[in-house]
Amino acid sequence: MISTKVRIMHDSGLNARPAALFVQVSSKYDSRIWVEVGTKKVNAKSIMGIMSLNVATDDEITIIAQGEDAQEAIDSLTELVDSNFSHIPNCK
């Protein structure tokens, strides 16, 4: 299991659209992926789960992945967040 921390810089935090992009990217991987904020940990492939975290601008989230393509998944998700959700990484 590997994990990394990223900061959400998007103006509206992880609202519907960035959340949908995030889920879209994580769903492409076979690994099990979670997002953790504070004491809450949700499935990164679930849009309702991500939205329930109520992540605001400048909040830090932890992405956790477990599985064969865990590293690729984390890299792509980090790339997506770092590009401020403007660039969808090429995956698979």
Partner: protein
């Protein structure tokens, strides 16, 4: 780092209808136990085993006792009492706050509240409230539905069809508790209660359609805010190499927050009507709980017949 359990001051004040007499800052109260303490013995000078980690409640008895004390001795005992780092002090029955208590609360920065309730009903509500507020909590991926009064927690990988199954169940008259993320709270040693995170309550995501609001779409009868978990149904893609339960004589279990729940694994294959299978599982669970186990019953009949044939 493990954060100590704490309760925001506004929550406790609102929930128990308290009046804030003095509270220096807005930091949440650090409360580690749902027990409370009435500090009568401490006022008398006995500080051994003083449960200072508990919320302190002052009732009529303690107040009257304090009034009978010599002012110097009283101040000395109270000063010692206030030096302990207790979460807060609540005075019941809307009693007037003696100036020496207010003074010491300010001196040692302790929160001081007042309640209009009698001491015993206040302590009872306080213990109930703390028990629920301090209960261990966990967020799990899955869908929680109330099916014939049984709390059914549907688990399984993303895309297996949990939400679709729940939708079909709602259409058949059952009630949705939470979709995708379920906050599970351990309220007693063997009881888990699940609810939806407030923000996404009664919303659901159906692939291809998007986000829908079950309450507006199917009405208030189709949703419920929280529900104890009774059974876990695990949906998984049909695996030909795996043996699935054909009898139901043995029960599988899953542990959530240390509570054991019966677990049923249901293989998913196109064309299988999952909603009706979940309904049947819920009915079967209720029958079993009422003491009737179809698999055992059939086995008994078979055994009796075999015995009879052997006798002839």
């Amino acid at each position: 780092m493990i954060a100590l359990p704490s309760i925001p001051i506004d929550n406790i004040v609102e929930e128990l209808g308290l009046e804030v007499i003095y509270c220096h800052d807005s930091r949440p109260l650090v409360v580690t136990t749902s027990d409370i303490n009435r500090p009568g013995l401490q006022f008398a000078g006995f500080f051994d085993y003083f449960a200072s980690e508990r919320i302190q409640v002052l009732g009529k008895v303690e107040m009257t006792y304090l009034e009978t004390l010599d002012p110097d001795f009283r101040l000395q005992q109270l000063d010692k009492f206030f030096q302990y780092d207790f979460p807060c002090l609540i005075i019941s029955r809307d009693m007037e706050i003696p100036p020496y208590i207010l003074e010491l609360s300010k001196k040692y920065n302790r929160c001081l509240f007042r309640s209009s309730q009698s001491t015993s009903s206040l302590t009872q509500r306080l213990i109930n409230y703390l028990g629920s507020a301090l209960a261990p909590k966990i967020t799990r991926h899955g869908v929680l539905v109330d099916v014939y009064g049984a709390g059914v927690f549907l688990m399984g990988e993303s895309g297996i069809g949990k939400s679709e199954t729940a939708l079909e169940l709602v259409k058949r008259g059952h009630r949705l508790v939470a979709d995708d993320a379920v906050e599970i709270k351990k309220v007693t040693d063997n009881r888990l209660i699940g609810e939806s995170p407030e923000l996404i309550r009664h919303f659901m995501e159906i692939r291809g359609i998007g986000i829908i609001d079950i309450k507006s779409m199917y009405g208030v009868g189709s949703v419920i805010n929280n529900k104890p978990l009774d059974i876990v149904i695990y949906l998984e893609f049909w695996d030909d190499s795996k043996e699935y339960d054909r009898l139901g004589l043995t029960e599988e279990h899953i542990e959530i927050l240390g509570v054991k729940l019966p677990k049923i694994v249901i293989p998913v294959r196109p064309g299988r009507n999952l909603a009706i299978i979940v309904e049947v599982a819920a009915r079967n669970w209720r029958l079993k709980r009422m003491g009737y186990n179809a698999a055992v019953e059939l086995d008994n009949r078979l055994n009796a017949l075999i015995q009879q044939n052997r006798g002839e």
